[in-house]
Structure formats: structure tokens, C-alpha cells
């Protein structure tokens, strides 16, 4: 496919400077040192670099959407231009028979990274998701055969996603539940951050292998750390300053969203650091708690979204350190006042009883 296939609104050919910039961003996101930037750039522009085949199954296209909305033109261009996208249903101009031929050709040619978006239904022979008369499982299995590696983009392709939520009527699963003999990496999120996807691709192009992952198959550079430990509202959590209700004073003051359901304490992702859409936002920064969308089965385990997570340790006897110190301070002040009152009372009583000032 030629770049002419991609939607008109995207910036034209990338300048060398913009290209290097995007490589630098991705290199930083991967947690690699500065010296790696030229390596990454070289891999990204290698004419023999693998192409990308992008399959879409049970999904809302939100992952592709968020990728296109990577408002940083460099990042968007890098994704859509430099990695040669051989097949992407939403983006390509071809349709119908022609599109199917494109897919066949790409698969035959081999040397591609397979990107999967969306869950794959298995129940009743997989009839709940079909493209061109073939079930999603069939298409996936066929495309996986010659793939160098598979990237599951989004929580659906990674773990089944919303259609896999109880009672999972279509028997939806993630890619790694079906394909066992290929390197697979999950880039979950609903949607995932485009930069994490881009970095994963570039990592593969640079090192010819997938980045190290955690036990849920997610790249550690992006999903290695807890949201809660990097959240800008964390000091409020420690001190015991919470939003009790959306729209209250605490909400306006930017307090911690734990009590209105934030799942940050159980969610692994670099959202607070990388943020979204290049305008430096992420859910917590705009006043809504984290829903835990990068975690497997979050539709089942993280709901209700606006009820607080149980068993989260709050420092300061469960109240926050400043809040509980204030409480204890008030109590101590009360006890002191009582002690002084008793002292004064005894003094006055003694004087009344003896009729004179006591000597000692």
C-alpha cells in the first residue's frame, strides 16, 4: 500500500527533523538511553523493515482512532507512514474483494508484524464475528502463521475486552488464548496510548525481538509501574484529602479520586507519565478516576467504576496522615484543656477551703 491510501488529513512527508523527534520520543518512552536514538531511527527507515498487517475483529475502532488522534503529527506520521501498513480495514482505500486480495498478497509476501485489534469470539464455531464469510479465528490463525510477531493492541485483543465481560455471550478471548507458537505482546488499554504502541513496534524493528514483558504479556517499559505511584494527586492520597463526591470542594481543589472509585492503586500503566493526545491529559488529570482499563478483565473486576477499591492501605491509620494528625491534635488539645481546667479547679478549691494562697 502506498501512503496515498491514508486519509487526507495527515501531514505530508515527514521532515528529517520531525522524524528524529518522533524517534526520540519513542526511544524515551521505551526507557532506552539517548544513544539509542540513531539506532532506532536507522531501524525505522530501513527499507527492508517488516510491514504491518492490521486485523480488526470485535472492536469499536477506538484503538485505531486514538492512534490517528495522536495529535503529535510526528508520532502519527511515523506510525502511519514509516511502518508500511499493508492492510488496515479502516484506513485503506481498497474495499470488498480488492481488500481481501490485498490481505492475501500481504500474507503471502510474509515478513510482517501482525497487529490485532478486537476480541475473537470462539463460541458456536466463532460465528459471531465474520469478515468476507470467514470467522475471525480463521482469519487470525491464517495471518498469524507467517507473522514475525504479533502485537495485540487494546484490551480486547489482549484479553477479550468488553465482549468477554461476564457472561461473555460470544465466548470472546484475546489473541494469546488462541495463538501459542508466536511471540505475542499485549498493548492493552481502552484505548492504549499510541506512543506505547509505536514504541513497541520500534523496539521490535530495532532489536528484532519483542521487549521484556510482565506476567500479562505487557511491555514493562510501559506497564511496569503502578499508576497510583506516579499520580500527580498522590500527595492528597497520603495526606487524606479526598474528593467525596463529584463536583464538591475537594473535586474543585484537585484532591485524590480514590473515594470516587479511582482504580489507580491496582492498575499498571504509564498514563500519568506519557499522558494522552499530546495535550498532557489523562483521566485523573481531568478529574475522573482511573478505570483500570489496562488490566485483564477490567470490565468485571474494576466495576462499579465509581465505587472505591476495597483493601487499599491509606497511610495514617487509614485516614491519611495530615487528616489523622489533625484529629489526634484536636483530641490532645481537648485533654490538655481538661488537665489545665482540673489544675485550676483544684487550685481554686484549695484556696476556698484554706482561705489562703497555697505555698506550693
Amino acid at each position: 500500500m502506498k501512503r496515498s491510501l491514508y486519509m487526507g488529513g495527515l501531514p505530508g512527508a515527514m521532515s528529517r527533523r520531525g522524524f528524529l523527534r518522533a524517534c526520540a520520543i519513542a526511544t524515551a518512552a521505551m526507557g532506552l538511553p539517548m544513544e539509542m536514538i540513531p539506532k532506532v531511527a536507522e531501524a525505522a527507515s530501513d527499507p527492508k523493515r517488516p510491514s504491518v498487517v492490521w486485523l480488526q475483529f470485535q472492536e469499536c475502532t477506538g484503538c485505531s482512532e486514538s492512534l490517528l488522534r495522536a495529535s503529535h503529527p510526528d508520532v502519527a506520521t511515523l506510525i502511519l507512514d514509516l511502518i508500511s501498513l499493508d492492510y488496515h480495514e479502516t484506513l485503506m482505500a481498497a474495499a470488498g474483494k480488492q481488500a481481501e486480495e490485498d490481505l492475501d498478497k500481504a500474507i503471502e509476501k510474509g515478513n510482517y508484524i501482525l497487529v490485532v485489534e478486537g476480541g475473537i469470539p470462539l463460541k458456536d464455531g466463532g460465528v459471531y464475528c465474520k469478515i468476507a464469510g470467514k470467522t475471525a479465528v480463521e482469519i487470525l490463525k491464517r495471518a498469524a502463521e507467517k507473522a514475525l510477531a504479533i502485537i495485540s493492541i487494546g484490551t480486547c485483543a489482549s484479553y477479550g475486552g468488553i465482549q468477554a465481560a461476564r457472561p461473555n455471550p460470544t465466548g470472546a478471548v484475546g489473541v494469546s488464548d488462541i495463538i501459542k507458537d508466536k511471540p505475542i505482546i499485549n498493548v492493552p488499554g481502552c484505548p492504549p496510548n499510541p506512543e506505547n504502541f509505536l514504541s513497541t513496534v520500534l523496539y521490535y524493528l530495532t532489536f528484532k525481538k519483542l521487549p521484556p514483558t510482565d506476567k500479562f504479556g505487557r511491555p514493562l517499559f510501559a506497564y511496569g509501574r503502578k499508576i497510583h505511584d506516579h499520580c500527580e494527586r498522590r500527595p492528597h492520597f497520603d495526606e487524606g484529602r479526598y474528593v467525596e463526591q463529584f463536583g464538591d470542594v475537594g473535586h474543585r481543589l484537585g484532591f485524590c479520586l480514590y473515594k470516587v472509585g479511582c482504580k489507580g492503586p491496582e492498575t499498571y500503566s504509564n498514563c500519568p507519565v506519557i499522558r494522552f493526545n499530546d495535550v498532557e491529559v489523562w483521566p485523573v488529570s481531568v478529574g475522573n478516576g482511573c478505570y483500570g482499563c489496562t488490566e485483564p478483565n477490567f470490565w468485571d473486576t474494576m466495576t462499579p467504576f465509581h465505587k472505591r477499591l476495597p483493601n487499599v492501605r491509606i497511610p495514617g491509620a487509614g485516614k491519611g496522615i495530615q487528616a489523622s494528625a489533625t484529629e489526634i491534635g484536636k483530641a490532645a488539645l481537648g485533654v490538655t484543656a481538661a488537665a489545665l481546667a482540673i489544675h485550676a479547679g483544684v487550685g481554686i478549691a484549695k484556696r476556698l477551703a484554706t482561705g489562703s494562697k497555697s505555698e506550693e
Binding site: R225, R234, P315, T336
Partner: protein, 215 residues
């Protein structure tokens, strides 16, 4: 042979003050220095352990007790028994000024003569007086740091000390005063207890000292 009699010197309230003040200072110095320079490894993610949060929490609670103890001592300056009142031990009377210098000379081993008194000697009293004043500065800076926004301590702190950072600097410097004070205090108390049979150390537990009976 000298005969001694038991004299009630330190009221319950004063002893309560002392035993709140002393341990809280110890705790505040340890946790305060941790806040200043967190010496443990803090590689663990903060939601598994809260070393700094816990240290600060203990510091603030101890700070509350410390503040209450100081308030109680201020009350006793004016309404305590005759040994506890501030004019009993400040060098503002001829007798106390003389005592201040004689105590200095005595502590310097320049003389063996010293005045027997049941309350504080003027040197100790003066030190305690300034310690309480500095304790007020310490709890005001502390409360200013603890309630940096929109509280009475914010306005008091800002007008007395300036910015948070300036208050923190004062708070930190005074940490060393209290550490120094605690050391000197304990040394001199033990020194006196060894040199005199008045029962100085036990007096802060049971309130009684022993004075030579006048014959």
C-alpha cells in the same frame, strides 16, 4: 550529720508536661531528621510501603503532643506552684541574677559553693525559659508547614517567618537546638544527681526533692 526532709516540688501537671515534652522531642528529632534526609532505601513503590508517610505521620502526632505540652508549661508559668512560676527562676531579681553567675562558676568547677534551692537554679531556669520560647517558634513553624493553605497557621506563619521555605529553614535549625538541649540537659541533670543528695532525677518521677532540714 545532715538531716533531710521530703519536699513536694513538682506538681502532677508539671511532670505530665515533662514526660510528654521529652519523649516527643526525641521522636520529633528522629522523625524530623528522617524527613530532612530519608536514609532508608526507598526503592519500593510507595503503595507497598509508606516509610516517609509513616515518619511524617509520627512526626505530626508527636508535634501535636509537643505543642500541647508547651501550652501546659506556659500555663504553669503563671498558675503553677511557686517553683513552677516563671519569675521564680528568671534572672529578674537580685537573688536570681547572683544565682545565675554563682551557678555558672560552680558548674565550671571554679568553686564548691552553691546555693541550695528546691526549684530551678537561675541558669537552668533561663535555659528552660528560652527553650520554651523556641518551642513556640518550633510549633508555629511546624503548624505552618503542616497547614500551608488557608488556615490560621498560614497567616501567622507567613507574617512571622515568611515563605514556607524560610519557615522550614528555621524549623530545621531549631531541630539542632533541641538535640543540643536534650544532651546538655541530661548531662547536667545526671551531674547534679551525682553531686547532690536532693533526688533531682527521681523528683521528675514522683515530684519530691530532699532538702536539708533547718535546725
Amino acid at each position: 550529720m545532715a538531716v533531710y526532709e521530703k519536699k513536694y516540688v513538682w506538681s502532677i501537671l508539671l511532670r505530665l508536661f515533662h514526660w510528654t515534652f521529652a519523649p516527643s522531642i526525641f521522636t520529633l528529632i528522629v522523625t524530623g531528621l528522617y524527613i530532612h534526609w530519608p536514609w532508608t532505601n526507598t526503592w519500593l513503590e510507595g503503595s507497598h510501603q509508606f516509610t516517609m508517610a509513616t515518619m511524617r505521620w509520627i512526626h505530626f502526632i508527636a508535634g501535636m503532643l509537643f505543642t500541647c505540652a508547651v501550652l501546659a508549661r506556659l500555663y504553669l508559668w503563671f498558675f503553677g506552684n511557686k517553683y513552677e512560676r516563671v519569675w521564680d527562676f528568671l534572672p529578674i531579681t537580685g537573688r536570681n541574677i547572683k544565682n545565675l553567675f554563682s551557678t555558672l562558676i560552680y558548674y565550671a568547677y571554679l568553686t564548691d559553693h552553691h546555693e541550695e534551692r528546691l526549684g530551678h537554679n537561675a541558669l537552668a531556669g533561663t535555659a528552660y525559659f528560652f527553650t520554651i520560647l523556641l518551642a513556640i517558634v518550633q510549633f508555629l513553624t511546624g503548624l505552618y508547614l503542616l497547614y500551608p493553605e488557608g488556615s490560621i497557621f498560614t497567616s501567622i506563619g507567613a507574617s512571622l517567618f515568611g515563605t514556607q521555605q524560610e519557615a522550614r529553614f528555621i524549623h530545621y535549625i531549631l531541630n539542632w537546638y533541641f538535640a543540643w538541649f536534650a544532651m546538655v540537659h541530661i548531662y547536667i541533670v545526671i551531674w547534679n544527681d551525682i553531686k547532690h543528695p536532693e533526688g533531682l532525677i527521681s523528683s521528675i518521677f514522683d515530684g519530691f526533692k530532699f532538702a536539708k532540714k533547718e535546725q
